[in-house]
Symmetry: C2
Subunit: 333 residues, 2 copies
DNA sequence: GTGAAAGCGCTAACAG
DNA sequence: CTGTTAGCGCTTTCAC
């Protein structure tokens, strides 16, 4: 098969210890030996066996990334950020999709323990009961991604979802809308719950009436379905705010198909500001989150926690969402 | 820290060998012992150290996925498929973005070797010189993803890009278009080269004139830029075919901004049929590829190759692309 | 500056 | 059916 450290040692006429030193502490080896060994390594195409190395040293250079679904454009961006930042530090990333299922999440966590990852970046699929002690006891760092924690014993990187909900309603209210439909997923998802909290708080202040339309999954198809429910409301709202852009795209399709004009008849506002918003039938106004940045920051934070465990101070970083106004929201007629 | 196999053995009053048997060959252990050991395992929260296991057994349960960019919706879908299929077989997936750079690709390959992955699924960033012998010599299976190989010594799962190019031109030609712009990326990308080949072949048969507009990156921004070049052509084409949907969205934006109507003034056809096509300003006609299915198939093929190495017959699976007609293409006036 | 040797946690072969 | 033991490939003392 392939060369191992002993082969290199034999070939170069040195001991395994010396080869190991060449790999890990080249400054401690004499230049002559160093060069000879390195040449042999190249010649044999030797790549150290990560298992053995990590088994001995106790640490891997891998992290786990657990997100609800990479196919969700927001998390795609986050994942890309995580991967870039990890790669820069020579860490490899395990990708796991939990599909918001606690069962899948636990299964993955167990796999990640087996793989002896150094740390885990996770967007919990459930607001309560973060049973991550299990991981910490094993010396695996855990940082929360896109989720806030009040727990000072762990790092988190999140976006202020309450504020996001507020910004949305404030924006729509400032355009004169007083009846707004809020189309969103299950409240068990922390981000959803927070956005709802922000929506309700801002609605109270702005004296806006909110009709909540609940969908099971926040995708485009369910957005289109939601339109029927909106049309069935006692009073047609003059603006619709959606829990994410996917949902908003679906709603947009449903409205246009029903002959309802955006933003003339109804304003539509999304959340996430995914790349396609600008190419939509009606360019979509949205609440923007720094997804890529979120991923980069989280990965850097996690890796720094992994590597300087003693001196590490846990941080809770919170980004602020921003309104991106395009064509789908306008003054109420 | 955390319990190891020896701790379990001691606690349960058996030998390490027995615990190992409980883990790997439970049928060989007496029911009484089995139960006792399993209880101890649960009690101690023992999870076997994957390194040690794999170091000893020689095999990991991980695969590497190397794609140009997960943020590209096509590859996002593929990645999701790969992850789902791998997870079903209890494999973990390393995610790597090569950004079409050979250097990055090699760096990742080296990382994957270190991680001792069992197999690698890769979309090569370069049509020539697939130096994957290195991996095979190390017993790492390699399967090509979204790339065809004539080499019978490896598996590949791809979509017929030549045919895709043909379908596109045949469709546009059937609508009466005789001057078509082909907006696409560098020919070093195999998929691009194949689609171009299909375009040219079909164009010859249908007696269509093709003007090629080359962009460096196949994203939305460069699509918008490309519109300037299209408008500068001696003769304005009546249809535009884009190398992927991202590019097409950019072109769409550029055309609309220039006051050009789609499909009245010009037909626009994309490639990939990403989920947002339907939500675009003008619902985008596109050439559809079974991305998720591609990922699932590739992962299954790779894993089966890994596990039944001797009896494995290499397969080259090729999916067929399909035309999805929406509103952006129409008969030439 | 280099070599020898002891394990990291586990599996697998072999004895009992 | 269970226990003992020899490594997997590497890092890391500790001598020399």
């Amino acid at each position: 098969m392939s060369a191992n450290l002993r082969d290199v040692a034999r070939q170069a006429g040195v001991s395994v210890g010396t080869v190991s030193n060449v790999l890990n502490r080249p400054d401690v080896v004499s230049p002559k030996t160093l060069e000879r060994v390195q040449k042999t390594i190249a010649q044999l195409g030797f790549v150290p066996n990560g298992f053995a190395r990590q088994l001995r040293s106790g640490y891997s250079r891998t992290i786990g990334l657990v997100v609800p679904d990479v196919a969700n454009p927001f998390f795609t961006e986050v994942a890309r950020g995580v991967e870039d930042a990890a790669s820069k530090r020579d860490y490899a990333v395990f990708l796991c999709n939990s599909d918001e299922s606690l069962e899948k999440e636990n299964k993955y966590l167990s796999v990640l323990i087996q793989q002896q990852v150094r740390g885990v970046l996770i967007t919990p699929s459930d607001s309560k009961s973060h049973q991550y002690e299990n991981l910490r006891e094993r010396g695996i760092s855990v940082a929360l991604l896109d989720t806030e924690t009040k727990n000072a014993s762990q790092c988190s990187v999140s976006v202020d979802d309450v504020r996001g909900g507020e910004i949305a309603i404030e924006h729509l209210a400032s355009l004169g809308h007083r009846e707004i439909a809020w189309v969103t997923g299950p409240e068990t998802i922390p981000q959803v719950a927070d956005r709802t909290a922000g929506v309700m708080r801002a609605a109270k202040i702005a004296k806006v009436e909110i009709s909540t339309i609940r969908v099971a999954l926040m995708n485009s198809a369910q957005g289109t379905d939601a339109v029927k429910k909106i049309l069935a409301l006692k009073k047609m709202p003059s603006a619709i705010f959606c829990g994410n852009d996917l949902l908003a795209f679906g709603v947009m399709r449903g409205l246009l198909d029903a002959g309802i004009k955006i933003p003339e008849d109804v304003s539509l506002l999304g959340y996430d500001d995914i790349a396609f918003g600008n190419s939509a039938a009606v360019p979509l106004s949205s609440i923007s989150q720094p997804a890529y940045q979120l991923g980069v920051t989280a990965a850097e934070l996690l890796i720094s926690e992994c590597e300087e465990n003693e001196v590490h101070a846990h941080q809770q970083i919170k980004f602020q969402p921003q309104l991106v106004m395009r064509a789908s929201t306008a003054t109420k007629k």
